[in-house]
């Protein structure tokens, strides 16, 4: 029996060993989650075994700081270790496929950051590997973490319960401004060969996943546009060409008949991290903004018109998803704890032998939408069917 799985009537005893690959922004956020998940949720015991990175000294320092027992520089060695049961991939996108497939084949449960991959081909390969691994009882999951923001998880509950009636129109935007300054320097995120795309893959992927997740629906067609407002940026050896988009727009058809607009940008001056989602249905509406992560706006259109209004729900009640584990009402948890919830759900699925979501297949579906948007953008925005 694999570690973490609970035999009937008894608790798992051997802790699950976790290895994380990557210790930058995402590695830090994931480490925080592994360090804290057991303090708030009843999950199988885990051990932060090893943190993997390219630079031996830096990763050793990071491992010590973030609570890992060891550090290492070669992920290939780590993912075959017997004391490692979970591989958590926080490396850049171009490494996802190789590591994930290898880890799955080595029989490890795999959590991989979004987007699933830089290319559709890679994503397909990963989804296949995940499906095969699933048949062997191995879990895999892609880190569309915002599904674990309590306000969004609650939004999904409201929609699933029919409180919005038939959903018709969705508006999803993700606006940031870290590239608004034209002197912001080149990074690997601005080169197509390393990042795959720009705002599209990085943040539109979140918006698209949310639309499909909240509505339990599938995108069937897309008209899209991509644009790079600042074409050259300072590199270490002088100006370099930016080869990915700064902003992206799309209009998406969904299988249900709903229509969603997507607009994402890294040059939306003054917007720091605003993933905003508005859902309009025949009987109600919802709005969420990641800049106010503890709130959900909900309008019940079945109320008398005089009384109807968007109500600001402070999503900190014990009855809200995940929140019973935290503080008394009104005490807001941080962005980082969506990762704690992600770890909780991943561990719970492993324990229960269930397939965690979003699956690699879900990640692949997002990837297909991204590809359709790119294809449409290259064809003067003409609609592409998926």
């Amino acid at each position: 029996m694999s570690p973490g799985a609970a035999p009937a009537g008894q608790e798992a005893v051997q802790p699950l060993g976790v290895a994380a690959i990557g210790y930058a922004f995402m590695g830090r956020a994931h480490s925080h989650a592994w360090r804290n998940v057991s303090a708030f949720f009843d999950v199988p015991g885990i051990e932060q075994k090893v943190l993997v990175g390219r630079h031996a000294e830096e990763v050793a320092e990071a491992a010590a700081k973030y609570g890992w027992a060891e550090s290492a520089t070669d992920w290939r060695e780590v993912i075959v270790r017997d004391d490692v049961h979970i591989v958590d991939i926080c490396a850049p996108g171009w490494l996802h496929a190789e590591i994930a497939v290898a880890a799955l084949e080595a029989g490890k449960h795999v959590l991989v950051e979004k987007p699933l991959a830089n290319t559709l081909a890679e994503a397909e390969r990963m989804a296949e590997a995940a499906a095969a691994a699933r048949r062997r009882g191995i879990a895999s999951m892609v880190g569309f973490t915002y599904r674990r923001v309590p306000a969004l998880a609650y939004a999904k509950q409201l929609i699933a319960a029919g409180r919005l009636g038939t959903v018709r129109q969705v508006r999803a935007s993700y606006l940031q401004d870290w590239l608004a300054d034209e002197d912001a320097p080149m990074t690997w995120r601005l080169r197509k060969e390393t990042a795959g795309s720009g705002a599209l893959g990085d943040i539109a992927s979140h918006a698209i996943d949310q639309v499909q997740y909240l509505l339990d629906d599938t995108v069937t067609g897309a008209s899209g546009r991509l644009h790079t407002f600042v074409g050259r940026r300072p590199g270490p050896d002088g100006p370099e060409d930016v080869t990915v988009d700064d902003a992206a727009w799309a209009t998406l058809s969904l299988a249900s008949g709903a229509i969603a607009s997507i607009e994402v940008s890294r040059i939306a001056t003054g917007k720091k991290n605003s993933l905003r989602i508005e859902v309009y249905g025949s009987d109600g509406a919802l709005a969420f903004d990641l800049e106010r992560p503890g709130e959900l706006e909900f309008l019940d259109a079945t109320a008398p018109p005089e009384e109807a209004g968007f109500r600001r729900i402070v999503v900190t009640e014990p009855g809200h998803p995940y929140m019973a584990a935290w503080w008394p009402q009104g005490h807001m948890i941080g962005w980082e704890h969506a990762f704690t919830h992600q770890a909780r759900d991943f561990l719970a699925a492993i324990r229960d032998g269930a397939a965690p979501t979003p699956s690699f297949e879900d990640g692949l579906q997002v990837q297909r939408v991204l590809a359709a948007i790119e294809e449409s953008a290259a064809a003067k925005s003409a609609t592409v069917h998926l």
Copy 2:
């Protein structure tokens, strides 16, 4: 039969002649109301007969501009004219009592701006005159205009319908900043002999009237404080002493057992005209801010806790007070049209032979609270019972 009163089964035919006294800020706002009320509401016909002011040339110009047939400089002559049936007093507070009592005695319906008077003695005299006039079928009303802001009128309906359960705690503030600049010049509003008091009479009076109006309740005790932050201001002949308060605070006991806090200021930097009222009851809560006059926040605490939240009601539905007369939903009316509603209600009461509210007695009750706050402030904030 007096003009404006409708005999059974038939419409009044002779229009009501209106005379307004004062053509500054309030005179302009009232003129706008008289000019427009008939275009939106079914009210007895009126004629803007005469505008009265001290300076012949200026008042003549104002009269022409604001739609009055004539102008005059002597209110004593005007209020006895046969073609004048309504006297609308927009003059400064120290003139209220004299004009109002004379007009009532001359058999004219009287609308007077708030606060009712500068002193409790004057207010009492006015209330007596109004009561006597009422017995002769003469209407009188004090201009606590904010009762006619649709959002506040709707708030009262919700409270009266029991949607808040037992009201316990009320927070009322009225914050402005036109005196935040210590170089803002002296005016009659900053001298005790002309203004009676400062922020207290000018804006706390509104807050107190709202508390009593919304809760249908009466203040029975008050602890208060007054303070002048900028004690001297530039006058035409050099610095002058400010002899009224810049800000006032009070805690009020109400007959029902509820407690209300009042805080008003003219030096609240950045606040332009923020009359804010929050009402907390056992079953719900309300919040209103005059800087967003078309909105009311309402929380229904009988909803499941997960769903409860302050809902932002856009108060433009036909079912909202006064709003059926205006534009389609979502089209906000301005501050000025609370005066239009006031004119509508005053005219409707005259037509129906009803006693309009707020009455002079209501105005006097506010005055008593103001006096109690002043008395308490002079006694180190010790509570004064009314």
Copy 3:
């Protein structure tokens, strides 16, 4: 010399006679403006001569209520009257071209509600007539009234002053919900032959005009989509087909290089009248929402990052456009007074012999964009160049 035009050094003496055609929603709003404009602004004297409508009795009643001296049922007779100098067309869109061209040819100044016309051909004819009339000193203007909302006029000033730097990305949406209920009945607004289009012409036209107005820019390309969510609605004789769009989406290229997204809807549950515009530039950003018409959000990105934030400007200062004419700071004016400002600007242009904006040519340009969106929508959203 035509009425209203001021000879050098002297005021115009003969008042301008105004005739309004239409007395429904827009007719009421325009009447309110003509009735009040002179009370707040120094403009040539006007007289509300005649209100025109199809039903003699109803229009007579409306005329009396809204301050018009007379009523009439035949606009052809009215527009040739000597005592009529201004023709204000508030009739439905399919009548615009005929009335406007005739009135211009009769030498009358013409103000026409938006959108300019139901078809591109009509709009072109109107623009030609306006250009010809202009050469004869006759003024014409299309009623994109929101240009006269003080917050939007101030937004334009900030952009023109360079406070946003290079504008890159614009988001404009106009969301309403009066068709969210699938039982809302058929009206002329839902038939292509009378309305031309649905949300597109009615409200996207406002959004498009604002984008071009605020940026002083021109749309050069469009990808669009139209959709009808509720295809049949109850008519007097049973269900009828809705032949216009409920919602529309577009991505627009502007001559400057900026890109604007447009999204409009009549089924956005809970949104009453939300024209929302966000403008992102290299040095700053702006946001406006018509549901809070007295506010403008402005972010100055040249401030230190710690201090930067969207500031909520209460647009009621004397230094704000139009506001010196109104009340003290913090006293919000209503939606209806954008029409008062429109009347003011139209009259001032007539007095000064200037060409008022937005001109019929501006209206035609909006029409071209609408047509491009429709063309793109019919071609699977493929981009159409203007």
Copy 4:
């Protein structure tokens, strides 16, 4: 040399052992801080040695969950252990004085939750013990944690830098609603003998500390009122009397001449945890609400009036206090991480041999204000001088 203190030119090597007393709400929050502080901040090494509670089994479970090496039931034994260098008191208020004094006398650094004590006498004894300990190099601190919310720490910086000019008026409220339901049961927090007071000590203490902290000022006089709206509540053996206040009001004079109002409540229906602070100065203003903990509103009144407005600063920039240690801009941290910052500052002070703030003396000063409010409330709100 005591553990944690760094000798010149060299890092401390021996980790500081921490013992926490109490494992309920506050114990959990403090544990989270100790568990995470080293992952984000460069602080002396610590070890979570022992968690102390009354019930052996429960505290053992809590210790395992929250990352403590051991658990214990007798705080007296723990505070004298050689491997314990820091005693963190999260026990209820009536235990503060005894534990804190004993721990300080045992030479341990002490962090104690707020309010400092239940009575003024206890608080004075603690402040004396802290002063004596300070002379022996022992640090002590009271947990007014909100000083470590980045938005409030930044607010203090803005005020200290003179950006508000002379501060005149402060409005501080702390509104919750967990007692709005009259069937909410009795707890130790509702009995005077265990809790000392109700909303006053529990939440007004936070508001008062913030006022003194933000303004760097001292309360010199207070008029206050206390009220219990629901006098009896269900206990395990039937209804019991509530002997503390549900709500409290105060008007405070500050040494600088500023005046602050305080209003706190546990029956403010719909308010979950709203500590709201507004500061009005001659040159600017600030507003903060704990229900939106990542935001600060700032108005710079030295800007031209047309441009002035409350700007919503998203307090996630690297230049904001504490935030360089966290995530990229726009990623909000949670309420719980104010405790992480508190641990960071306490550890840094120990390392540097500095006296951490807020000191026990600061806590005592808050206690004096609470006592003055109680005294005033007992004397019909007559002002009490401190």
